[in-house]
């Protein structure tokens, strides 16, 4: 196995490189999995924590806000550790003793604020996962709408005959996405209006 420098990992994440994501998964996921499982979680929890951590880091890199004061490994561990601690606290499963398995750093307040909204993170993950189960056509038409592309251009891009059909298609796709979400028991807690 080759070893990428932290610089390469960050650049790879910025570019959404398959190789780098794969490398991070292979190199660092086992540690995060061990951390979560050792502290009252299961494999599925570990994957969620790992994904959410990488999303947080990706956003920081994209927005040029990532300030590494330690190795990437330690930073990822610290982010994951905090996400899992928040989740445990929210579900009142907080263990009397939290077992760390690696060194961690105190994260900047800005990052901690982002991590504190654990429920929002979970909601976004689940909604995004449902979006990604839609057909390619539906995903594309919804994203084009969100870019505020004119209906005529969307119809051309998607190969639809009329603008009206483009609008109907967007409506039906969003409807399908919403149906999937409201019928997912995991999403029910997010569906109240408060």
């Amino acid at each position: 196995m080759i070893h990428y420098s932290d610089e390469a990992i960050i650049e790879g994440l910025r570019l959404r490189s398959d190789y780098i994501i794969k490398y991070i998964y292979q190199e660092l996921f086992p540690t995060i999995k061990y951390l979560v499982v050792k502290n009252s979680g299961n494999d599925e929890d570990a994957e969620d924590v790992f994904q959410d951590s990488l999303i947080v880091i990706f956003k920081k890199i994209r927005d040029n806000e990532l300030e590494l004061t330690c190795s990437f490994r330690t930073y990822l561990y610290s982010v994951s550790r905090n996400i899992w601690l928040q989740k445990l606290a929210r579900s009142r499963q907080f263990a009397r003793e939290f077992s760390d398995i690696e060194n961690f750093v105190d994260l900047p307040d800005k990052v901690m604020d982002q991590l504190s909204d654990n429920e929002e993170m979970e909601k976004y993950r689940l909604y995004q996962e449902h979006f990604l189960t839609l057909g390619e056509d539906c995903q594309k038409v919804l994203l084009l709408f969100m870019k505020k592309m004119p209906l005529r251009d969307i119809a051309t891009e998607m190969g639809y005959k009329t603008e009206k059909y483009a609008k109907t298609r967007k409506y039906l796709c969003k409807e399908e996405l919403k149906k999937r979400i409201i019928n997912d028991p995991k999403c029910h807690k997010f569906l109240s209006d408060d």
């Binding site: 794969k22 909604y127 995991k186």
Partner: protein, 263 residues
């Protein structure tokens, strides 16, 4: 990673206010309707929840970067998990059928003259990369900590061979001793159809002798000659490879010579 939970709910839930919400968000309501909608929102929890869901989804889809990153995460994680579950294979050695296919295709290149080396399905640069780049042979390439090298590798991995090649050339300008860079630059040249330049790169590696890339460079040098229809040079090259029983590609070289009728 994506868990299907739609069927796990005992009763399918339905949306009630989609059309209303659609008209509200699109700004298609008249004043009376807007007033009614505003009032209704204060007392109708279901309408309010459906509107919130709609807005949440819009917020999520607005950040396309994150959606695309999530797509990559899910895809890479699923792929890695599948690989973990499947039996281990020896990654250093290409499979026999791949080598046979490569040899057969190489002959087609000569016969047809128009088939590009880059179109060899069994030997795309991507496959080559996964065959060799994952091996210890490339450690030297990535450990240098040189930002240019990292960037060049990423470009290569993303199939931006032209971009990779420019960076590889820059690196070699400063330090021509990095054989791994010569090798990947050679592959990039093949991919961008700069066969003469590829020949120079592989020749440099072959002439250097004391490196881990010699055998592969010899092989690609032969293929480059084939691509250039320099059959005599190719034959000479493949004879050299075939004669060396220890050469990783000797059997394939032998097969090519047989097909060429020059054994």
């Amino acid at each position: 990673m994506i868990r299907s939970a739609i069927n796990s709910c005992p009763m399918t839930r339905k949306l009630k206010y989609s059309q209303l919400i659609e008209r509200f968000i699109a700004g298609e309501m008249n004043e009376d309707e807007l007033r009614w909608f505003g009032k209704e929102l204060q007392t109708n929890a279901e309408l309010s929840a459906e509107l919130k869901l709609d807005k949440d989804l819009d917020n999520i889809l607005l950040d396309e970067d994150v959606v695309e990153f999530r797509r990559k995460l899910i895809s890479v994680f699923n792929e890695s998990k599948q690989q973990d579950a499947s039996p281990k294979i020896v990654r250093m050695q290409p499979r026999r059928w791949q080598l046979a296919a490569a040899a057969a295709i190489a002959v087609l290149v000569i016969a047809g003259g128009a088939i590009l080396l880059t179109q060899q399905r069994s030997y795309t640069a991507e496959k080559l990369f996964s065959m060799y780049y994952d091996s210890n042979r490339t450690i030297e390439l990535t450990r240098s900590g040189n930002a240019n090298i990292v960037e060049a590798i990423l470009k290569f991995q993303q199939k931006d061979y032209q971009g990779a090649s420019l960076l590889f050339a820059e690196i070699l300008d400063k330090d021509s001793s990095n054989i791994a860079v010569w090798f990947y630059n050679g592959i990039s040249y093949i991919e961008t159809n700069r066969i003469e330049d590829a020949v120079k790169a592989f020749k440099y590696i072959v002439e250097d002798k004391n490196n881990l890339y010699v055998e592969h460079a010899e092989w690609y040098l032969g293929l480059c000659y084939l691509k250039n229809e320099q059959i005599d040079f190719a034959v000479e090259q493949f004879r050299k490879i075939a004669a060396d029983q220890k050469n990783y590609h000797h059997k394939e070289a032998d097969k090519i010579l047989e097909k060429l009728g020059r054994k």
